[in-house]
């Protein structure tokens, strides 16, 4: 069997106002990045129910990115702070099911940071490749 390079699947929850727009700008600017990310648009990272992350991982996603506005820039004033407070809890939950906490990341990307978004996806794809496939992915694929 020829071993193909592992192509991770990363689910990115992007807030509508900053990070989704930042991803749009990466496109408008033609900043290329790996095809491994799938973006789910939410209005604000404040909306991020920890179960969304856990469900993405349970279904076999290799990494989850939560991207929102920089501190102080939230369209709703403090949604990103609410998310930040939850993040430790999310990481602990991820660890408690036996996954590396690094599979989940919280990053701030503004509407003007297309280059940053592209760089982030390149870097995170690389990082998840090093971590290898999620055990949950292997389980769900072998069903």
């Amino acid at each position: 069997m020829v071993e193909e390079e592992f192509e991770p699947l990363i689910v990115a929850f992007c807030c509508n106002w900053c990070s989704y727009a930042g991803a749009d700008l990466a496109g408008t600017s033609r900043f290329e990045y790996p095809t491994n990310v799938r973006i789910v648009r939410i209005m604000c990272t404040g909306r991020m129910d920890p179960t969304f992350v856990l469900e993405a991982l349970r279904m076999g996603s290799d990494g989850v990115l939560i991207a929102g506005c920089h501190p102080g820039d939230c369209h709703y004033q403090k949604g990103n702070y609410m998310m930040e407070k939850r993040f430790d809890y999310i990481k602990n939950a991820v660890k408690s099911v036996g996954l590396e906490a690094d599979r989940v990341r919280l990053e701030w990307v503004s509407a003007s940071e297309g280059a940053k978004f592209a760089a982030l996806i390149r870097e995170m794809t690389h990082q998840i490749k090093r971590l290898g496939p999620s055990p949950f992915r292997i389980m769900s694929n072998s069903k």
Binding site: M43, S61, G72, G79, S110, K116
Partner: protein, 596 residues
Amino acid sequence: MSEEPRIGVFICHCGVNIGGVVNVPKVAEYAKTLPHVIHAEHNLYTCSEAGLAAIKRAIEENNLNRLVVASCTPRTHEPLFRAACIEAGVNQYLFEMANIREHCSWVHMHEPEKATEKAKDIVRMAVAKAALLEPQTEPEVEVKDASLVIGAGVAGLTAALSMANQGFKVYLIEKEKEPGGITQKLYKLYPTLANSSDVVEPLIEAAKSHKNIELMAITTMKDVSGYVGNFNIILTEPGGDREINVGTIIVASGASNYTPPKGLYQYGVYDHVITQRELDKMLSEGKIGEPERIVMIQCVGARKGEIRPSELEAFPKSDTAELLRKILKARKEEGWPYCSRICCMNAIKNAILVKETSPKTDVVILFGDLRVYKEYEDFYRRARDLEVRFIRQVEEVPPEITQTPEGKLQVVAYDALSGLEVKFLTDWAVLSTPLIPNKDEIMLARMLKIPTGTDGFLMEAHLKLRPVDTNVDGVFIAGTVSGPKDVSESIISGKAAAARASILMGNRKVRTDAITAVVDEDLCIGCGLCEEICPHGAPRIEEGKSKIREILCRGCGSCAAECPRRAISMRHFGDNQILAQVRSLLVPESLKEAGD
């Protein structure tokens, strides 16, 4: 759900923008295999008249009740497609967009196969969400027929007058003692060589005497709360604070002039090295006399260097005056990366003014690139006819300035055309400097939640399609606060911003997003956590249950995520809808049929 979803999917080629990378017909074929999809087709431009007609026709022919368009970002054409849905009798919230351009074809241009696979995934996610969409009614908000204009330069004055003439009350605030902004301080304007006071003074007089305009000098905005149609603003005036209530806001607070650091081209070292602004002032006072020669140097402090990664980080998130001060100080030393747009014409204008008063003076303009667009080309020709000399430079060999023992300046420059070094003894060296963002404006943007670009200027909602809108509903931008503009461009943007704000105020009502929180009262235990965390005061506990006041709810969803009973969900971004996207993406093909 009341009715079985019947989904129509439209995949857009966007000319070659998507179709040149993604195999669009293949994605359309794939879409037909997805659950609940009744109809799928691909269009050259789904946003075109033909594309929109195809949507309406398909709705009618196939009795569709859910629509997915896979094309660009919803930030560009979602309103257009939603309008098409409404026309065809489908509630606009039963529409979902799949972004396969900005998030796929444009970022994976060299990986067509992988991009096609990704596009299929993106479409599958959108279809999964679409199947669970529900119709919504948008709440209506009253719009106060008053506007706040921040900054009384030409853009602000123009915007204020335009709204006031339509009968709206305008509060026009200016942080300086006198209105008029930067333009007020200029001598003559290109390309007409009109006195700038002839342009600004009538605007100031008209604003001062207009019954609908309240012009307040030495006044700044201290705080803002509320939302489109109903902003509460606290102003700081010399006498103290004052609260006003407006429906719209126009930010026209301008830009600053770059002052070169001491020593750059010997500025601040030799008295006869000055900026164009200083030359302008001397011309207005008739003090320039009849010098033998004047050498102008373009792009001083502009088009220099790259945007540093540290800046990419810091600019958009700098929320303290201290951090901003640091960035601006570093930029002063290094210069700014962008072209300031107006300096070429400004230099040509001053060159012509010198030549017209003192034809014997040799005027030399050292430039890298000369940008004289539209009819300004004639102005440039006029300068050439007056024998103003234009000498092209290369960035690597900037001109050098020294002083001779006799006290004259010597400019040594590299002439890129001849490849030779040229030396000029000159009476004056004049530096052309850019317009730059200023600290107060960036802090103002932070207060209003308008993002700034990496250049520090306020960002428009869309560079091409919404140039005077911002990401904040009801807040518009005019003039140089969003980047360098000349007077006529500032006036155009002032009028444009006024028109955008007047649409809202003229309609008296605006529909706001239906994306609001909903409480399941059976689950709610009235703990009050939602009331505590909501930044907008939307939830209130009444009779032991949380009640959401829709008009105050902005739809962030923090309460939905925090509710310990999971009693709160969001319209249009429900738990089930978000999870459906996640699940549709990750369940392997073999299991898809076995879904719930």
